[in-house]
Amino acid sequence: MLGYAGKFLEVDLSKSSFKNITLPEEWLKDYMGGRALAAKILSDRLIHKWDNVDPLGPENILLFMPGPFTGYFPGGRTCVTGKSPQSNGMVGSTVGGEFGVELRCAGYDGIIVSGKAEKPVYLFIKDSDVELRDASSIWGKDGKQTDALLNRECRRLLAERYPRVGVWKEPAKLYIGPAGERKVRTSVVVAKWTHAAGYGGYGAVMGSKNLKAVAVKGTGPLPEVADLEKIKQMIDVVCKGSYGNVLWRRWGTGGGGYSFGAETSSEPVRNWQEEWHDQRSYGVDQFENKVWVKPAWSDFGCPTNCLKISCIRAGKYKGAITDNPDYELQAFLGPNLGLFTPEENVYLSSLIEDLGMCGIQGGSVLGFAAELFQRGILTKADLDGLELEWGDVDAFATLAKKIAYREGIGDLLAEGTYRAALKLGKLKGKNLLPYAITSKGISIGAHGIRSGRDFSREIGYACSVQGGDHSSMTDLPIDGWGSEIWQIFDDSAVMCIFTSFSISPNFRYEFYNAVTGQSLSRKGWLNGGGMKTLQIQRALLLLGGPDLKWNPKVDDDNPERFYEPLPSGPCKGQAADKASVKQKVRQYYEQAGWDQNGIPTSETLVKLKLEDVDKILSKLRG
């Protein structure tokens, strides 16, 4: 099919074997790539035993999936997915960088990894040459060291094998840090120090498979497309739109750390006890003037360059280096922990990235622990002598390291906020879930719903098939602009939402048609691939297991904190309304074709030709 390389690489780590496979063309037509196609592959292979599949066991499947847009649409992204150790469902997590572009140039539409290697390995792909190499020398290394050592080794290999080529640019890599190696559920798959496929916890999945990294170098052209001239024109439109977005290019999401607190009142402050702050010390100008040493930093093919390089040159945090940090990390490793200076934020972000942890999930679990300390539930003795006061950056740094290395209390907190709340609650004989601001085991992104001024909506997290994922929120009506169906398109195509602000809703379908020669429309996606993916992901989420299962009656809801009134700021007193949420959830069930218990009905699934999913779900319907 046009727009596709034509083959997928299947790697069985247990047997150290590779094979090239092709998927049915109907799958590609229906599910495109990325998140949607991954959902189809996972459901096809694992749904019959889903609730018994341990996400951190060898039977889980890890997928690296670019999509038909990767390499063509400005700003390359790759979807990393599998059964999530956070939600026990499937989370389509995407990561920036040229990995997907290199992979498609190497002739693959994706990598499907199963099994578990005996000892640490990394996968090295140079076009059709694929090998598993010993990773014992990089196992245990932090993010930046891993990146440097892999670069050195891969470039040496390329130079030896292709001596007359000249200087090789480094291959694109996805790797894990120490947290992933220790199967910390808040760990991420990292690219280039600071980019990460965060939601889902796929770093732990890679770690459980003893797969330290995947490095890929592709020298071939991108897959052939239907209408190259049209694509060139459309790329031009996207780029021009991005160039016009002057302040977005200048600040990226770096303005959020102040404005989502001061203006929209939706930023987590001290583990969501508040959502408002007005600290001018946390203004974007402070980041820009104090720590951004490189004001424009683009990923491959990106016209937006919303990344900046931040560096601390001297003093206590000397040597800390990261990107902006972007808004989510600004929030979770800043106000969420009671920190309000760029230096502390850059230091913690740099550390979290080195450890291979998720800024959102990691920041959430740190905030959760600090609130328990504030309330006297966790004591100094519980925390191995740490006094976890709000604003104490060193205490948070120590705890983050303990989590990544699973030392002392860190071993428990490494299970992520939701599971830690359950386990600690059992130990303390208390219900600690009110302090865990999560949805379906996934900590909620830094866009609160109480003020109503942000883009997040009342049922955005409660009904999402990816739980607390702020980049996959949903809303009523299901064919409206806020619906998750369109997020599924973006994650499946796979494209960057930060390069596509200026384009019209139909532009992406035209782009898809120009790449593949199909004739997809917005409606076609709504009634086809988008809806199918939504149903599959919902089914996988409800099947869950083995350690946790979600009950829609309880879990299709916001965390309790969102029903408490905001204590400060311009929206003081505002809160989500339980009755209205309940009613909207019911409406959403209806529109999505789910029964009153939130389970997709037979009728819905059969209409979408998902009979296999229907058969498995019948056991949930009772």
Binding site: G255, Y258, S259, V284, D285, R313, K318
Partner: protein, 130 residues
């Protein structure tokens, strides 16, 4: 030039909440509906300096001779400073649409901006420059 080697602009950032206009006891400042810029009514201005105190960046300046306050009026909507900066290719000043942005954060006293810049350049507290 408070930090050796680096100049930086100290200009009105067009706050959305107009603390200077609110602070004026003589109602000498008004907001132009078309450009949203602050316009000084020189007949009413006494040069008391209350607007300077109110400004988070201490940007307004009382003219030494006329003793009336000077505040950027955006040249009637077509700022000349951005034009010349773009023509010269310095690309430092650029006119952008007035949207929901935290322009106000950039209203800082020159010492503060200079200190931040020194930290970025020298990686020190840079106290020796002040």
């Amino acid at each position: 030039m408070l930090v050796p080697g680096a100049e930086f602009p100290h200009l009105c950032t067009q706050c959305e909440d107009y603390p200077c206009v609110e602070a004026c006891p003589f109602k000498a400042l008004a907001v132009n509906k078309e450009t949203s810029a602050v316009i000084v009514n020189v007949d009413k201005c006494t040069g008391c300096g209350k607007c300077i105190d109110a400004c988070p960046g201490k940007v307004p300046h009382v003219h030494p001779q006329s003793k009336k306050v000077l505040i950027c009026d955006l040249c009637g909507g077509d700022p000349k400073c951005t034009k010349v900066c773009q023509e010269g290719g310095w690309n430092c000043l650029k006119a952008v649409d007035r949207e929901d942005h935290e322009f106000k954060l950039y209203a800082r006293a020159p010492e503060e901006t200079a200190r931040n810049l020194a930290i970025k350049l020298y990686g020190e507290k840079a106290e020796e420059f002040f």
